[in-house]
């Protein structure tokens, strides 16, 4: 059972108040069905806080999203990258219940947000860049309005989120005079207002200066650490590569690749004086998941970073000297460019040979 990890004004303990119709029924002593009113959230969704299953979206005859599958678990940060017009914003609208899928289904915490919008109590989202607010109201007034619609959010929490996005000084100014970056930060403040279990943001870093950019990434990381499932669309590849759990690469509405970055962070590159001996010693270690021999080095995939010290001990005992030991930094930007180019080549080839290019070419890059 996956239970919600943290407490929020809306999520006390591990109980999620379910919308009517989805409440768990249990048998009473007399044998009749009893509506318990509350239920562990984990019983209602199988592992993924955000679940997109075989979703397609067409506008008229034009397919915009094709047979998409995305899962985001609590505590994960999923970044969707892709060129402009690849369908990132449409996916976010489908996820948040603003647009209707032509086929397939979207669930948030196991609940369809279109059928039951009450699940949006657990959702913080910004679906436009810059985030939209009433320009004639101040930043604080706009947040008060959001708080009123969510319910159970006090003035203190509003002040807290304004402080978190460094807008306390501008809180009494009308949003109409806010800069693009300030609006984005206010959007972020509105999204995290209810300490949501799911955070979905469309290009949260758009129009931000480097300092604000750092702030946004910090808020996203903090939210994930606190147990929220975070989903963002972005063009900032270098920044997201630092902390995202997964990156999905989207092109023309198809998820062409999904990279598990959290696993990549446990990879290290070792340069040694005796490579065959080192390979033999490393391959038998239980805490090393993969050993890859490259031209002048060995790449090891550790079960945990804590096991790094053991590697040098084992190699030393085997009479191998370590010349260099460094993290195997994954270059997302280069990988993205390469992936997009290879997909373009495949498409051109298929078009030339008259084959259908509509299939999902998604692969697990861990094996590539």
């Amino acid at each position: 059972m996956i239970a919600l990890k943290r407490k929020s004004p809306l999520n006390t303990g591990n109980k999620l108040k379910l919308p009517s119709g989805l409440k768990k029924k249990t048998k009473s002593e007399s044998g009749s069905d009893v509506d318990t009113g509350q239920l562990d959230a984990g019983l209602n969704y199988s592992g993924s806080a955000i679940s997109v299953d075989n979703v397609s979206k067409r506008y008229g005859l034009r397919p915009v999203i094709r047979d998409l599958n995305i899962k985001v678990k609590a505590g994960e940060v999923y970044a969707l990258v892709g060129p402009n017009g690849s369908g990132k914003t449409t996916i976010i609208r489908l996820m948040t219940g603003l647009a209707f899928p032509s086929s397939g289904k979207v669930n948030l915490l196991g609940i369809d947000p279109i059928r039951d919008p009450k699940v949006k109590k657990h959702l913080g989202a910004v679906v436009e860049a810059p985030a939209a607010f009433y320009p004639y109201m101040t930043g604080r007034q706009n947040l008060k309005l959001h708080a009123k619609l969510i319910g159970n959010i006090g003035k203190e929490r509003i002040a807290e989120v304004l402080d978190q996005v460094e807008l306390s000084n501008a809180a009494e100014r009308k949003v109409g005079v806010y800069s693009l970056g300030m609006r984005q930060r206010l959007g972020l403040a509105a999204a995290i207002l209810a300490k949501p279990d799911i955070l979905i943001l469309d290009e949260p870093a758009s129009g931000m200066d480097p300092l604000s950019l750092h702030l946004v990434h910090k808020v996203l990381q903090d939210s994930a650490k606190a147990g929220a499932a975070v989903f963002i669309s972005t063009h900032h590849l270098d920044e997201v590569a630092e902390y995202c759990t997964k990156v999905g690469i989207l092109e023309e509405g198809r998820l062409i690749d999904e990279v598990n970055l959290s696993q990549r962070r446990d990879r290290f590159r070792v340069v040694v004086d005796k490579k065959p001996e080192a390979l033999a010693a490393l391959k038998v270690l239980p805490f090393i998941k993969t050993v890859i021999s490259e031209a002048d080095s060995i790449v090891i995939d550790l079960a945990s970073n804590d096991d790094l010290a053991k590697v040098s001990t084992v190699l030393s005992n085997a009479g191998v000297s370590i010349l260099e030991l460094s993290p195997d930094i994954f270059n997302l930007r280069a990988y993205y460019r390469e992936r997009m180019n290879s997909n373009a080549t495949i498409q051109t080839t298929n078009q030339n040979t008259g084959q259908n290019t509509g299939q999902n070419t998604s692969t697990d890059s861990e094996t590539t």
């Binding site: 609208r93 948040t96 647009a99 699940v119 607010f133 009433y134 959001h146 619609l149």
Partner: protein, 259 residues
């Protein structure tokens, strides 16, 4: 939740330029009837009572400007959300689309009452030099025109005026629902307002077709002057039915619209 949404919609209503313009425009009519010097030369009568000013203001605005103002304000109420981009922001909150649009329908449906209440109060205030006592003549809104059929007491005159304003506001409700429906269908406030105004103008022209007349919204805009209860009942049912039909179509359509 619906009450909270209505409260929020009222707050937004006062921020709309269309509302401010409507209030200014509707203040002009009583001022003209109360203080314009050439009424006798143009219309052949004198204004002699404070109760005639709101009556005349209503008659002169109901045929043309009031329906258009109501259509434009209602379209703006939804259209401003598209303009500011706040429509998705609001629908990301734990509210249903129906609740949200219902609050818009309720507030835009109440706006004719608000606007006419303002006009009535303003008209009675600016007409104070004529006095609020009984007078020989008519209020202009119920039989007998401003010339009247003899002496009319202050109470009767006030009742006639209040009745006329209530009925006039009621006859404008389907127009506000229609404007919201067009805005839902067309996506922007400008398109919604334009379509509503165009439909109203076409309806004014269509009243030359006798069998069609009773189905036209514009045919019921003179309900405030209708003294016969039988016809009043028919008009009222027609008004309420058309408002309900427009509202239901708007709600059904909005439920299925991609935002």
């Amino acid at each position: 939740m619906l009450l909270t949404l209505i409260q929020i919609e009222f707050m937004k209503l006062w921020r709309l330029n269309a509302v401010r313009i409507s209030l200014v425009v509707m203040a002009i009519f009583p001022l003209i009837w109360a203080h314009a010097p050439g009424i006798i030369e143009k219309y052949g009568f004198y204004v002699i009572s404070a109760y005639q000013v709101p009556g005349l203001a209503l008659i002169s605005s109901m045929d043309f400007i009031l329906p258009f103002l109501i259509a434009i304000v209602s379209a703006s109420l939804l259209g401003s959300e598209s303009r500011h981009g706040t429509l998705p922001t609001m629908l990301l909150k734990p509210i249903t689309r129906s609740q949200w649009l219902c609050s818009k329908l309720i507030v835009s449906g109440l706006f004719p009452f608000i606007l006419l209440a303002f006009t009535l109060i303003f008209a009675l205030l600016v007409a104070f030099p004529f006095g609020y006592g009984s007078f020989v003549g008519g209020t202009g809104v119920l039989g007998g025109d401003v010339v009247g059929v003899g002496e009319i007491s202050a109470g009767t005159a006030l009742f006639q005026i209040l009745r006329a304003y209530m009925l006039a506001a009621l006859s404008l409700v389907p127009i506000s629902c229609m404007a919201l429906l067009f805005t839902v269908l067309l996506g922007t406030g400008v398109s919604g307002a334009l379509a509503s105004v165009a439909v109203l103008i076409v309806m004014y022209s269509l009243d030359v077709i006798p069998w069609l007349e009773r189905f036209l919204l514009t045919s019921h805009l003179d309900i405030y002057a209708q003294p016969y209860l039988g016809r009043l009942g028919l008009s009222l049912s027609s008004i309420l039915l058309s408002a309900a039909v427009f509202a239901v179509i708007a709600l059904l359509r909005f439920e299925k619209t991609d935002i």
